[in-house]
Amino acid sequence: MNCSCEYSKENLLKRISEIQFVCTELNLYMDTHPDDMAAKEDFACYASELQDLIGKYEELYDPLLGFGLSVPKAGSWVRSAWPWE
């Protein structure tokens, strides 16, 4: 697989992890600062980018969420690699 390609599995997963990390940090910050408008705006922006990236990844590769929260298109829940492998 060409790792320099923007939508390679590795690059997409890395980008998802980065944006999801930003969302996790903002989420924890907003837990104790629920009325911070600037954080809310940032969160909305990053959360929608995260949704787009996850949609792209699941369309091309494997489902990321179980229990019906991902609709498996390209990959399979059971046969895609587990994260410790």
Partner: protein
């Protein structure tokens, strides 16, 4: 409920076996200040936490700790992957191997199994949050000890990430403590009502 996301929070890819580090990493998988203890501690304390913001913090940090626990399990699994019997013996893991083979088991580096006695849920919000602040500091210190034991970047990078998370969690719990100190001695209606309710039962 929880939904599993089939990825790690931060990538772990340890290419060569390192039994000495597998043993040391057990501290954060099944020891008193482990990610498992942190997750169970926060997720069980949240039920009686009186303020929305503090409840959310316990819920969400507790959830993130489970992702950290998975990272530790992955690191231990990969550090043991491909290790020979003599490497296991040389690293002082013969006892562990006898009982668990290369299975990942929640115990500390000396084989002491995980126990709920490591945590508290006092029902007293200030006491609980103070325990959580201490837990984050103890985990941070443990990560620093672990980082002095290896120079393998495959192991150091995830440890650096996990150490920094403890610092950020500590910051959030500090804010929770401040929130609680503001609301509890004053006229916090919800807390008072809750207290009144349980006293009339």
């Amino acid at each position: 409920m929880w939904i599993y996301q089939k990825k790690l929070e931060f990538p772990v890819d340890i290419k060569c076996p390192d039994v000495k580090m597998a043993k040391a990493l057990l501290a954060q998988y099944g020891g008193p200040d482990s990610e498992l203890a942190a997750g169970v501690r926060y997720l069980t304390q949240r039920f009686t936490m009186p303020d929305d913001r503090c409840r959310a913090t316990l819920n969400d940090i507790g959830t993130e700790e489970l992702a950290h626990w998975e990272m530790l399990g992955t690191m231990i699994y990969q550090c043991l992957r491909g290790a020979s019997a003599s490497e296991i013996e040389a690293a002082g893991m013969a006892g562990y191997f006898t009982m668990h083979d290369k299975g990942v088991f929640p115990c500390d580096p000396n084989g002491v199994p995980f126990t709920a006695a490591y945590i508290q849920s006092t029902g007293d919000p200030i006491a609980d949050i103070l325990e959580d602040l201490a837990a984050e500091q103890k985990a941070r210190a443990t990560y620093e000890h672990l980082m002095t034991l290896t120079d393998n970047p495959d192991i150091i990078e995830p440890l650096r990430f996990l150490r920094q998370r403890e610092v950020n969690h500590y910051q959030r719990f500090g804010e929770c403590l401040q929130i609680l100190q503001e609301i509890i001695p004053n006229n916090n209606v919800r807390y008072k009502n809750q207290f009144a309710e349980c006293c009339t039962i």
